[in-house]
């Protein structure tokens, strides 16, 4: 039987692209988290820059809007001394009818070394990785509903920072799971790292029962879903990806699934509350919780820079 190699890994099993957490060996995930720890301390130095990507050009290709992810990728690349080129592709070539692969071919002719890609179509970063030159590396910054691997990794870094050991944890992921690439990446990462209890919490329209196939427990009742949890990951309601009446109203959603201080008391006393941002106060999370002592939403952003530095430095140091 023909065995197809994971396109993210070279023949030695080293990471050359980051496209999805699914299928990554635990050692590779752990290597990224360990390396991120090294980069976190770069923020404390007088010179907040290291020369690992000096002379390399990183192209941020955002076919879909983003502020936080694009900015943190840009900061991460700059702290690694790379030259960063931000392209608002949605407003330029693609709008003029250029195909994705033609855009990539043109940018490769400008001697790109790395593409950071966000696209509304699932699988677009895979297509780019398959067609770019061997020395070029691709990082998926979010593709459709499929994956957002650096967010998944920074969530794991955050959990490890506060909870150390993954093998005893109960993690609840709450909200609009069906539209969420973050949820899929988190679930793959949590499973890979050996978390024994993962719960997907939300209404039937947003958390279909077939998520059970991913190794999670589906809960349509919020109280049941977050009771005794060590970690609560709240997700944003993605109105832009919803078609038809999947929800009665935002107010109704908040009543049942919005995280308030009252509901948070059902979790462990030292539970942490995470959110990939941007948060919708009063829709999926109450302000008192978002700004409260359990919230680690802003540290997640800081850790995100270190995790993205780790990913970019690891892949650019490995040959195809």
């Amino acid at each position: 039987m023909l065995h197809k190699r994971n396109p993210q890994l070279n023949r030695r099993g080293e990471l050359i692209h980051l496209l999805s957490i699914e299928g990554l060996p635990r050692e590779v995930v752990t290597q990224i988290l360990d390396t991120a720890g090294t980069f976190l301390s770069v923020n404390d130095r007088e010179v907040k820059k290291v020369p690992l990507l000096r002379g390399k050009s990183v192209f941020n290709l955002f076919f879909e809007n983003s502020t936080r992810t694009r900015t943190t990728f840009e900061i991460a690349a700059k702290r690694l001394s790379a030259d960063v080129i931000n392209l608002d592709i949605a407003k330029s070539s693609a709008a003029k009818g250029e195909s994705l692969l033609d855009t990539i071919a043109n940018l490769s002719a400008m001697h790109a070394d790395m593409f950071v890609v966000r696209h509304s179509e699932s699988g677009a970063p895979y297509l780019i990785a398959q067609h770019c030159a061997p020395h070029v590396h691709v990082v998926n910054a979010g593709d459709g509903r499929h994956a957002h691997p650096t967010q998944g990794l920074l969530d794991m870094y955050t959990i490890r920072h506060y909870k150390q050991d993954f093998t005893q944890l109960s993690v609840a992921i709450v909200g609009d799971i069906v539209h969420s690439r973050v949820a899929r990446s988190d679930i793959h990462a949590l499973t890979t790292l050996g978390v024994p209890d993962i719960r997907a919490v939300g209404p039937k329209t947003l958390v279909p029962g077939d998520f059970q196939g991913m190794g999670v427990r589906v809960c349509h009742d919020m109280a049941e879903g977050i009771r005794g949890a060590d970690v609560i990951i709240m997700l944003r309601l993605q109105n832009e990806r919803m078609s038809g009446a999947m929800l009665p109203s935002a107010g109704e959603f908040f009543k049942h699934y919005g995280l308030t201080e009252d509901k948070l008391r059902l979790a462990k006393p030292d539970a942490i509350v995470m959110h990939p941002g941007p948060i919708n106060r009063g829709v999926e999370i109450d302000s008192a919780v978002a700004d409260g002592s359990h919230s680690v939403i802003l540290p997640q952003v800081t850790f995100g820079i270190a995790v993205r530095m780790a990913v970019m430095s690891i892949i650019s140091g490995n040959e195809a």
Partner: protein, 170 residues
Amino acid sequence: MSSLTLDAEALYAELRSGVRSLWRPGMVVMGIWSGGAWLAERLVADLPELAGAGRPAVISSTLHRDDFSARGMASGTDATKIPFAVDGAHILLLADVLFTGRTIRAVLNELFDFGRPASVTLAVLVDRGGRELPIQPAFAAAKIVLPATQKLSLARADGGRFTFSVQGQA
């Protein structure tokens, strides 16, 4: 395996007296991860003169290595931890093995990301020759010649005893 026998404990005793003569009041101690950091830790415990210098710093060459594009990101190394202000410090830098000088170059670049030291003095357990950069130690407990294909590194047993490991073809 090699027939080379190096008594790491005997060389450590040599290094200890070498460091004693290099030491000036007000100095601080820094060891290069991992062997140099072990040496720094033990010297601070063994030499009363060094006790006042406080906890030794650990410095890593990982983020400044010149072979990054060929070898990639090193995994399993510790991050640099410097518990004192680098600006104006007189630093005693410890390494287990000095070879091409490239690790020292990388470490000096790393150090200067934290500030401008007043001076850096290098003491090593073994100088194995083969320098590719103009870097010399102020003290080396031993000077030996090894083929470039052999890798010499310090190992530390559970009880803290030092040994040398030699890998590769003689």
